[in-house]
Symmetry: C2
Subunit: 360 residues, 2 copies
């Protein structure tokens, strides 16, 4: 079986190498079927790697790919795209474009990562705009995929329909569900008077071959009413960030209650095995990776503030997308719906035999 | 000191009398300064009251106001407004209009309650559209007021500015803050390309005498970055419902962990005093009441699924709005900003001396 080749932007995110490299080494040690292309400032990368001294079994599956520039978290999109043509971010995307990697991962600036990966890889036939998708845990013990999470602020009904296709393809490939249910995020009773775009999108979805459930409300995301929740990037981003904020606040509150006095501290120590299990279960680091869908390649975005454990999960997401054939499934879903050639993504699907220039 | 007079729609909500009456009696017993006007189907109301047998000290501060119709949770807005002219919901609003009550409360259908209270009470001068506002707990140990939560799906920049005025007035009166900070809900880094309406609203807010903080993101709601968060009703409703859904899911997860086996059950029993304090602190029932702002009268909406404890909090919110002079403060804020006559709300402000027809 061919190696899964992941290009990693080692300089991205709030922390850069101190997070990405340990994550890459730990992940590589767990996954002998994976080859990592570590992209970054060569001297820093070499020095960090020398210090980490990975075992030979890991080291032989690491390739260092030098870049001379770094996109910072504050860089404007234009700067990142037009003036830093040799950034680690850009080179990671180019490795995928050139068939040298099957997927790329960055924890850098979302706007820049979206713009660069779109510029380098282009969108799939039948897709106007890429979207950011993420899996969130739900009541049912599974996950709900929600998109778009901020790539597209103003969306037409057609865009929402395309998001639905891409989300469906993600769940049917990575989530192994044959006909994922799709819900359109709306506000229930007031919907009749409401948002014209959402009403039109519902019409389009009803007429599509997708498994459209109908409108869903905010609470349905965590209930697990449907497999895929579709919304525009403005709403999706606010829902995601407010959920992160609420979860954090509840975590702080529960800690405060256990820290109230010596007696509650003692109770906290006794309850810690149970509380830790709970924390692990809802640990946002496990849901770190977001997929940039609609591109001719697998592109994963890690949270900028990710630690090494969280970044490992983003690498895991990249592997899952590759092994499950996400790109082929997406192209197939689009072809079913629009008549666009399903082969459009074939060349970018890393599982196809492509020249292994760098690995030769 | 004059009595605070609250009109209660006793038939509204998922449960009607079995929830609203016990709540009214308990609240009345705690608050000898409050007189409740219980509006509902006379025979049912009388029967329930006879069965409850409140002490004379409570009974003498209860007025029964008969209605012959009930707005159901599924009634279309048109039906509620045009065909049920003698509904308990409508009469509760009319008591405020006629100066017989200082505020009205219903747990009924949101769309109908908004339409009826707007039709009966009219909007304040300078306000185009009423908005739904709610206080949510935040990290700082205080609350963040967020509006609109679903009354207005499509908003202009001017509407958002008006929401900011109303939210400011709510926090400065009920929350006793002199110059509440106002944040505009947006999605951060992508904002430059983003939503035109929000960009225009930011301009308007910057030029207004309000204490405008700038854009805030979803996580700022629970961080307590600002006192008031402004957004359109589509976004606000989805944020509120997804937050409710997430909190519920986390509650279920934590329960499941403690119910895993006999050992964890025992730990749960030991930890229960601390867990209960935590639960009380974040109990959504304490944040039940939402205010319908921008009307010529104090109108409170309770969650449809509220139990008696939650409904009591909605009654509490109505009292707080009356005693803090919310209406006068709102009219004053609008006058400062638009030059509209501040007296516009005077006649509807229940704290002004008005004829006490029914109490005479």
């Amino acid at each position: 079986m061919a190696m899964i080749r992941i290009a990693v932007d080692c300089m991205g995110g709030d922390f850069g190498l101190p997070v990405t490299l340990p994550a890459a080494l730990a992940f590589s040690a767990r996954r002998p079927d994976v080859e990592l292309h570590l992209v970054g400032l060569a001297d820093k990368l070499e020095a960090s790697l020398a210090q980490a001294r990975p075992p030979a079994s890991v080291r032989q599956r690491l390739r260092i790919v030098p870049a001379t520039e770094v996109v910072t978290m504050d860089d404007k999109v234009e700067v990142a795209l037009r003036r830093k043509k040799d950034s680690s971010m850009r080179i990671a995307a180019e490795l995928v474009r050139d068939g040298k990697a099957d997927a790329c991962v960055s924890a850098g600036n979302t706007g820049a990562w979206m713009a660069i990966s779109r510029y380098v890889l282009k969108t799939l036939d039948g897709i106007d705009r890429p979207a950011i998708a993420k899996a969130l845990p739900n009541h049912m013990g599974g996950v709900t995929v929600i998109l778009d999470l901020g790539a597209n602020v103003d969306c037409t009904a057609e865009h929402l329909l395309q998001f639905a296709m891409m989300g469906s393809a993600l769940v049917s490939s990575v989530g192994h569900r044959e006909r994922p249910t799709v819900g359109l995020l709306n506000i229930g009773e007031e919907a009749i008077k409401g948002n014209e775009v959402v009403k039109q999108a519902a019409e389009l979805l009803r007429g599509s071959p997708l498994n459209f459930y109908g409108n869903v409300e905010g609470n349905d995301i965590f209930k697990g009413t449907v497999d895929v929740v579709v919304c525009d990037g403005f709403v999706g981003n606010i829902v995601l960030k407010s959920s992160e904020g609420l979860a954090k606040m509840l975590g702080v509150f529960i800690k405060e209650e256990f820290k109230r006095n010596l007696f509650t501290l003692l109770i906290g120590a006794i309850a810690s095995p149970v509380l830790n299990r709970f924390r692990q279960r809802v640990d946002p680091r496990r849901y770190n990776g977001a997929a940039l869908l609609g591109l001719r390649g697998v592109v994963i975005k890690s949270h900028g503030s990710a630690d090494a454990y969280a970044f490992e999960w983003a690498l895991q997401d990249a592997c899952d997308a590759v092994t499950s054939g996400l790109l082929a499934r997406t192209a197939q879903t689009i072809a079913q719906m629009t008549g666009a050639p399903a082969g459009g993504a074939g060349q970018a699907d890393g599982r196809e035999p492509v020249p292994h220039g760098e690995n030769a």
